[in-house]
Subunit: 322 residues, 6 copies
Amino acid sequence: MPEFDLPLDRLESYLPDRREPQDWQSFWDITLAETRAHDLAVESRPAAAYLPNVITSDMSFAGFGGHRINAWHIRPRADVQGTVVQFLGYGDGRGTPLDWLGWPAAGFATLVMDTRGQGARARRAGNTGDPAGSNSPYVEGFLTQGILDPHDYFYRRVFADAVRAIEAALTLDGTDPEHLAVAGASQGGAIALAATALAGDLVRASVIGVPFLADVRRAVRVTEERPYFELLAFLGTHRSEAETALRTMDYVDGITLAAHATAPAKFSIALMDTICPPSGGFGVYNHYAGPKQVDVHPYNNHEGGEADDQVAAVEWLQGLWS
Amino acid sequence: MPEFDLPLDRLESYLPDRREPQDWQSFWDITLAETRAHDLAVESRPAAAYLPNVITSDMSFAGFGGHRINAWHIRPRADVQGTVVQFLGYGDGRGTPLDWLGWPAAGFATLVMDTRGQGARARRAGNTGDPAGSNSPYVEGFLTQGILDPHDYFYRRVFADAVRAIEAALTLDGTDPEHLAVAGASQGGAIALAATALAGDLVRASVIGVPFLADVRRAVRVTEERPYFELLAFLGTHRSEAETALRTMDYVDGITLAAHATAPAKFSIALMDTICPPSGGFGVYNHYAGPKQVDVHPYNNHEGGEADDQVAAVEWLQGLWS
Amino acid sequence: MPEFDLPLDRLESYLPDRREPQDWQSFWDITLAETRAHDLAVESRPAAAYLPNVITSDMSFAGFGGHRINAWHIRPRADVQGTVVQFLGYGDGRGTPLDWLGWPAAGFATLVMDTRGQGARARRAGNTGDPAGSNSPYVEGFLTQGILDPHDYFYRRVFADAVRAIEAALTLDGTDPEHLAVAGASQGGAIALAATALAGDLVRASVIGVPFLADVRRAVRVTEERPYFELLAFLGTHRSEAETALRTMDYVDGITLAAHATAPAKFSIALMDTICPPSGGFGVYNHYAGPKQVDVHPYNNHEGGEADDQVAAVEWLQGLWS
Amino acid sequence: MPEFDLPLDRLESYLPDRREPQDWQSFWDITLAETRAHDLAVESRPAAAYLPNVITSDMSFAGFGGHRINAWHIRPRADVQGTVVQFLGYGDGRGTPLDWLGWPAAGFATLVMDTRGQGARARRAGNTGDPAGSNSPYVEGFLTQGILDPHDYFYRRVFADAVRAIEAALTLDGTDPEHLAVAGASQGGAIALAATALAGDLVRASVIGVPFLADVRRAVRVTEERPYFELLAFLGTHRSEAETALRTMDYVDGITLAAHATAPAKFSIALMDTICPPSGGFGVYNHYAGPKQVDVHPYNNHEGGEADDQVAAVEWLQGLWS
Amino acid sequence: MPEFDLPLDRLESYLPDRREPQDWQSFWDITLAETRAHDLAVESRPAAAYLPNVITSDMSFAGFGGHRINAWHIRPRADVQGTVVQFLGYGDGRGTPLDWLGWPAAGFATLVMDTRGQGARARRAGNTGDPAGSNSPYVEGFLTQGILDPHDYFYRRVFADAVRAIEAALTLDGTDPEHLAVAGASQGGAIALAATALAGDLVRASVIGVPFLADVRRAVRVTEERPYFELLAFLGTHRSEAETALRTMDYVDGITLAAHATAPAKFSIALMDTICPPSGGFGVYNHYAGPKQVDVHPYNNHEGGEADDQVAAVEWLQGLWS
Amino acid sequence: MPEFDLPLDRLESYLPDRREPQDWQSFWDITLAETRAHDLAVESRPAAAYLPNVITSDMSFAGFGGHRINAWHIRPRADVQGTVVQFLGYGDGRGTPLDWLGWPAAGFATLVMDTRGQGARARRAGNTGDPAGSNSPYVEGFLTQGILDPHDYFYRRVFADAVRAIEAALTLDGTDPEHLAVAGASQGGAIALAATALAGDLVRASVIGVPFLADVRRAVRVTEERPYFELLAFLGTHRSEAETALRTMDYVDGITLAAHATAPAKFSIALMDTICPPSGGFGVYNHYAGPKQVDVHPYNNHEGGEADDQVAAVEWLQGLWS
């Protein structure tokens, strides 16, 4: 049944209980402080000479633990209207600059951050490893790495990387701090949301598509597709540690992050999304604390609005900053 | 078994028997003459204002039967090094200009031709119908439409459209006839090959990835994945008409088209390709009559070299025309 | 979950909102008038000499657009109790006379109409093409051909063909206008219903099994199996044209056709039918304007009652006309 | 790879080693003698009054062990040209008389034998149980019931039933012993072949489509689809009894039965048949001891020639007996 | 949707209507009386010499119809705390003694009963046939063998075997009648429940995991996975006999057996169990007439609690009998 | 085609080219020296009180990098005939002591080593994390973690852990250095082989079932099932680094390890194994430098000989050491 989640009218008012841990704020404050104790150490060298009509750098910076995180920075030769820090979907890598020409053609610079460890399985290659491992066993994938302790958890590192990516972008030629946005879909949407919530007022606009890591406690009950399947497998194997694992998820769940985010935001949600169920998307949207709007796609699965969403995001940002 | 086709050393010398129909040349001569009897009637209007750093037109021209074929024309604001006419994979549509920014960023103009009838099933929408039907029943899809008569066959119309797309490109601002290339992968590779063979010397370079419609008589015996599945379903249902159907395929099979094509060409072939088996790719490559080179991907299925192929194509064309 | 649709007690009273277009009646009046402007031009020749115990003709007539539509006409050598015009499921062809011996053995003549374009994929071959194409792109299949305009839509042609098939049957030896029925299951059920609604009082009884094209707006939300999948794929790709496409479907939706049909009818519906969900079947049944009865199969998917339904249909018609 | 078995030229001369058990002849002689020790006890009552144009009986007879085996007997009201005893595919049941009208329309009487135990899973219901069980465990299905001892094996009972079906047919009104044929496809083909080999000269013609139980020792190495999967599962579980089980199969393998069959025979074989691989079909065909011919379907899986095969069988029998 | 059945709060109070046949008690009384008319005839011989630290016998006894049923009897060399009669899942066999060392290591003797006919398809081989057949056709598998008559039904024989297994255990060295338990999961859980209900006060404790054959009339409406699929296939083929078949199921349905069982019992149920839906488990649990407790696994499918359940069962029994 | 790899006669003499890196020996010498620089630090506490008939400890030791590796140590209360260090299949965890009672019942002590990072996805839970990460991106899973540098590679750590597990076993009560064996199947077989090759003469016997990591360069060309799929995905994404990745695999490939292993060994290989193809198993077996024997299972996939293999291994070891 393609429309397997709640009906639209119930989704529109769906406000799941947030289980924000008491130490949520201090957990992230400490995480970022520790991360920032490492010098940002931005490095950059020219790349993609075969694309003369844009200016491309292969850059990197020190993320969580001081680990080196790779990224592309691409900007138009013409005037820059703003900068968009772009985050990636689960398993995806930054690929080649050819994949990221939309924002520059529209007048924006973009910084495309590799997700540590990812980018080896599909379409686009990454080239950033994750030197930190997991102190607990994990299901094949990333979602359960370190899940028994929020401090050891994979997305703690990734969200800290994301904040540092924004800070790195601010050091680059052509970045205007008044016009800095984040964007991403699926896992990229989760990271964009986290960056918006955690980077204070550095983020001025946020584009969040079909977000992952949203209302996780419900998600594992309504979908068993990857990547939520990985969490479900962990919970079904480590039965006595299920609540501990879910408690770790509360630290990164979008429904809590949303309540801490205030930049203007544009969401998209697909009603037939079996990877990131729409109740998660609406749970995040309804908790979001800033100005917001949402495009709902009634007949799409996780592909969401695809190019239609991209065009809408470009035009929304152009409108916001014109 | 991922390496299901012939081993590489046999592929490298694989030269399948061409079954070129006696009237092959006159068939295509007449087809193009009939098509050209309709005025080319290029129409164009500015599009994609949200992409200020490229010049985009939503254009159309009269293809086979005088039917209107839609296309994007996108060119850089800087100097143009050449023009690439781009053809699409099976079922794909021209989508939005956001999808076609690689050639312009690399210094080329591009014309992206919709495939008539296609573009409604996946990722990218098309907006070109096919007003001509099929005088014989067909399997769900396009591959068997009109298959009992070469004159009624779907790809007769598409290949004629492709030649007209080149002729339309030549009428546009910024097109240098000395620097006109065609490109495509899968069905797009088949159309690019056909255009190279049928458009005389209008095509100066050809980029052909993992080509479809190649050594068809073998292909249906070694793969049953879509779209070849559609032909297999027809042959298995219309048993007494199987040879008639295969005879129609001989008119569009790449192994014959290749022997009529002489522009410099760059191929790519994947050894684990279950959609367009590598024996088809090598069959075409080995029969190809012009200067040629090939990138072989030993561990890929039909995705072939993806972005690696795109970068290589850009650099090859830049080298060819520098 | 095999019983995925509404529970039986809610189905029994399920009366979905009909969205009958204001010009529904004129749309079909004009369609039939245009079709009838072509001479019916029935042609017939003896066939299947290997079946001496029935009288078989390979016949054809002019359908929509004057296009030639093929059919079998088979009648018993004994007295004829009536004539049944039989329509086919999605993708099916008229096959051979061997497939249609049930009605003749039961004392009825039958005319089996090919569905234009179909009959190349499974079990039974058709031999009728569809010379008319589609002015808009379409998903692989028939369901979305021409869907952006009711006048260009595939089923406009098919439903007109069906009315002409009845008129052709009436010209044949042995047809008694008082004893003319239509029958079909799945797509065949949709066509039989359309013929009952559109052919005025020519149809005297109607056998409608597990009907397709029924309550379409709900169907795409509760099933993603083929053929509804094709519509879902179109809606998910052409997002901004979704309502236009659904509006075209309103012209052929069974819940509207049912309200215009008055001949005695026998339905069958399967509660676990994932191809043509039971809510569609009950939606049509509950709107049906003539005398009616329904066999409900609680444990069947789209195969419905199969031979049990066939026997029941034979006996029902024998009872009605005895 | 759809053409997964040997290429056609090797199939045409493929003559697998027959492993005929020394006591093969006496095994079957004793089996039939024991079966015939029970009175044949044919019972018959009129059936299917809704089919006035044929004469139908619901009949039964005593098969192996004296167990009651059900069948339909259907004959034309016109002259009878001969009688065809029809056997069924794996899991199929005799269904309703509506399913068996081809032979009567073509001028033949037909007796359709239920396969004991089968007819509860798909399309057609049977109504014959198998009162005998299995002295060894078996995989879900029929293929391994009693496989550790030829005397306890399921197909020993079925093949004996088949011989008795022929003997029952000979007692019926309208049966001409000079014109008695057997027919079947898949499991039905295996049973038809067995009946031809085991019933001495009672069988005067044999129609064998895509036969099951053919060159079994190779079949389990080249296909793992059902029903051969069941044997493979047994062999993989009862490792130390594998040879015992395969030895039982030698008693029913078609390559041995074929060498004992001498009636004129018509075969059909499909080159892409993954259920009953073509090497089995050719193994049987090449060993067959009587006059023979074969229709080869190059582009079909296990559906073989379907209606084309049926028409060819009718015409072949009409030619043989005209 | 992994949590496809009722939500937990409704499951906890779910009390499905029991359809206990009027002659349920006499049916089972007569069945057991007939079975006991055969001498129990326990046979035993030493086995598994390679396991010196336990005492193993390959034993057998006369089950239903006097048919020989095989079992392992394994006991520790140290003192025995009690005896557990273990029943197997669908299609499983008793395998080797290596598979059954948990109870002995924990201080219990165990008798592992083969399920007649089963043990040839997966992991563990059985070596007990089922000499009794089925008087009605059946779907591939065991669930529908003899389903049209409770007296002919497969599980009548199996449940009678189970009672005899307990009686056989009581004859063995080291069995203390005060400390006799039954245990099993899935089909094994159904058999354990049946033995508890039917063996009077012989059973002193019962361990029932994710039970099969529970609330069957609902089960076929909420799952179509094997083995319930087999029943669904029967009901969908033999439409007019569906109620007869379901009536036979009422004789073996756990919701009725539970109401006749009084020994202390430990259940486990998995909320995402698509093989044996949790509503069946709770239906049985809520009807169970003895002292009871249940472990609920919220994130597991049919694997349930696996080793966690086994440890819990061991500790529960040790606590009960300490 | 179940027998998809080379035929048995070619397998029996299959001796693939070993690509032993020049620094293979020093690589492993240094790895072990670095590992041994950490104190072994064996810790142990009593566990599984519910199993009074065996002596169980929950133990751990310092593996590669000094990381803590967990294990069970279980020994019979009776005399110990030897000690078997047991390694696990891909993704498996040490689970509970209930799972490991075979060796103790047969008279052996066993040490079951957790595989770092694994044990969260299926059946058995592990509780050992992997604190070391990967400096390069990796496919979801373990096979490609750190694959671009042998020093960073996942199995470097695991193989070093395995050697330390043996050294830890030698410190335990009841371990006789003359009677120490290793055992494992699939990944466990690869680790057992590595331990045999790398631990010098500490290992006195080796049981290797259906080994993984064997003839890897061929394996990715003949199977695409998990886990080899993970490597294939990496090679197909990181095209230009494919040879680097394969070069890393050469350090852990069983065909090289085998040539360095001299303890008596018992292998098992399954001819239909699509997870660990038989050519890999025979490649290892034929290169193995010590006394050896092999059980070949002609009709099994990756399950191999299961309990039959376990019984054979027990009896082989009992024979070797009696």
